[in-house]
């Protein structure tokens, strides 16, 4: 059995492959103790090879090889998403992934190779963390926040991209009597605006695949479709794409 692990800032995903088929997926929150979460995730499994991606890839590789696992290859999220997406949607030419703390736009060639990519630097403006933070302020579960924002009827403009200042802005809009649904919609729109910029910077080619955890948010998906003038393709379990890509990488390295 071959495994791929995507260790992100928010969650860790595991995908296992046997004879070319996905036989197992698992997922745990990263927490402040990624080391034990990681070990919990592979507990009881007999793995022949592992590849790790995500911002914790180096840590994963250390922890796993310390625990006696077969050598752990690492690859970046960019490559992992490229591999995962082109296996799931062979005709895909652009990939966007809004992750916990990074957003990436990736341009692929016909063979699924990465041609170009863009990624935000330094701060987590416009990423999954941003959404999580504002959902918290609204006291709404993150999984329901998109549905909540979709009930907005007017897209308010939120100017600040910084998580902290956007919150201040949202609070003052509330004080001005705007509906919380509209404010939530505005917050979603601000993320989409930033993401679309990035997609355009890599020179988007259709079809576009939207992967990563935030692809589960219906409001982001709807706004993205509106802004780009076409519906992004969303794979089943978009949050597993990185781990799946890592698995494929591991498989291609041979055991």
């Amino acid at each position: 059995m071959i495994a791929g692990i995507d260790i992100g800032s928010r969650s860790i995903e595991l995908v296992c492959l046997e004879d070319g088929h996905i036989t197992l997926t698992r997922r745990l929150p990263t927490t402040f103790d990624p080391r034990s979460q990681l070990l919990k995730l592979i507990d009881g499994l007999q793995l022949d090879a592992i590849a790790a991606t995500g911002y914790g890839r180096t840590l994963a590789s250390q922890v796993l090889s310390d625990s006696g696992e077969r050598v752990v290859e690492t690859l970046t999220e960019i490559k992992a998403y490229g591999l995962g997406v082109s296996a799931l949607v062979p005709e895909a030419r652009t990939v966007v992934d809004i992750g916990g703390q990074d957003t990436k736009a990736i341009l692929l060639n016909e063979k699924g190779r990465v041609l170009k990519f863009e990624m935000n630097d330094r701060c987590a403006a416009g990423t999954g963390k941003f959404l999580e933070h504002v959902a918290n302020v609204f006291q709404i579960a993150i999984d329901e926040f998109g549905q909540y924002a979709l009930q907005g009827t007017e897209e308010l403009t939120i100017n600040s991209m910084c998580t902290v200042f956007a919150e201040t802005e949202a609070t003052s809009l509330m004080a001005q009597g705007h509906s919380p649904h509209n404010i939530a919609l505005g917050l979603h729109a601000s993320i989409v605006k930033r993401t679309v910029n990035m997609i355009q910077r890599v020179g988007m080619k259709a079809p576009l695949v939207f992967a990563g955890g935030v692809a589960n948010n219906p409001c982001i998906v709807a706004l993205l479709a509106k802004a780009l003038g076409e519906q992004p393709v969303i794979p089943d379990n978009p949050d597993m794409v990185g781990a799946y890509g890592a698995t494929l990488h591991s498989a291609s390295q041979g055991i």
Binding site: Y55, T76, E77, K79, V114, L115, N120, D121, R122
Partner: protein
Amino acid sequence: MGEASYREMWEKLDLDLSAHDALLEVLGKFYGDIYMSQQGRLQGMEYLDFVLSEVHGLRIKELQDAKAEGRKIVGTFCVFVPEELTLAAEAVHVGLCSGADAGTEQAEKLVPRNTCALIKSFIGFKLAKLCPYTESCDLIVGETTCDGKKKAYEAFAEHAPMYVMEVPQQKRDADRALFKAEVLRYKDEMEKLTGKTITAETLKKSIKTVNDRRRVLQRLSKLRSANPAPISGRDALLINQVGFYDDPIRFTGAINALCDQIEQRIAAGEGVAPANTPRLLLAGCPMAVPNWKLPYVVESAGAVIVGEESCIGERNTRDLVDESGETLDDMIDAIVDRYMRIDCACFTPNEERTDNVVSMAKAQHADGVIQYSLMFCQPYEHESIKVGKTLESEEIPALSISTDYSMEDVEQLKTRVEAFVEMLK
């Protein structure tokens, strides 16, 4: 020479000793992690290791000895300051590094926050009393290559003996005439500072000295085009960095010896990395000591750097001063011609630089180019867009990075650089 006498020397230079100790400790650790951990280094690098370990010790002692003999120390921040004239007036010419995040908060009292890290660093080093080179200088020469520096020198002049020379921003005849006037003004200033007259004879000799150093660095650069790469980019960068403050004649000798070793390596088909390792060219802003962040990230990502299109690299060594002049005036003209060929991003238009990036990428057999600029550096951040387009049309993969001396973006940098390297494999 022991540690104790260095302390006495540092004390005399009025350094903040405890802050300085802390700096040396960080530097030492940094150096160990980034340099000493490399495998398969050349023996000749021991010279560099030694020079760097004595960067605040022996070399400063030499500067103090030179001062005791009545020589003057001139510090510069830019390759536009004609070192030939400094040396012809028998002064010592040192590049001031400003490659570390130090004294930033103090610097921000003199310059705005959105100023590049290099400027903040040289001001920070001065205000925090950390740099024995800055403190040893009898004169610090600035230039008008960018607005950030230009304005920063005004503030800096209140803390250090400053002289500013004007560098034009175009390359027409009138600009050449202006620059020639500035070179002559610099000559007068050097004569005034040292009390020595620059003669055709002394200038001829110093032109040769500086050219020789350029020649040996050109030799090194050529050798790096070999596959497998015979020397790491980090080591080559270090050589270029040390070239700014070491004694030029000693340095030239040591690097020539190192190049002999490299030739043997190449003949034996050996390298620092296997033959199919992705080769990258770094292009853009200068990287002063100890700004090793990006080269370290790049080479840890499984690539090897085969050239620096930078002032701490090719821009400083590409052109020689014509050595055929016999009169002082001929030689001054030759100096002006040589310096006016520098393709700093402060010039407009500046097609030469784009052409140079492309031809260097080809000459060094680079698989890709990483454009590096310091955040808030208008000239190079602008050029990275323009140069990026040309590289794209030449089908040379490129990645643009804008960063500073802090470590806060290291994780993102790693991901980007690794993804770029994966793309090339």
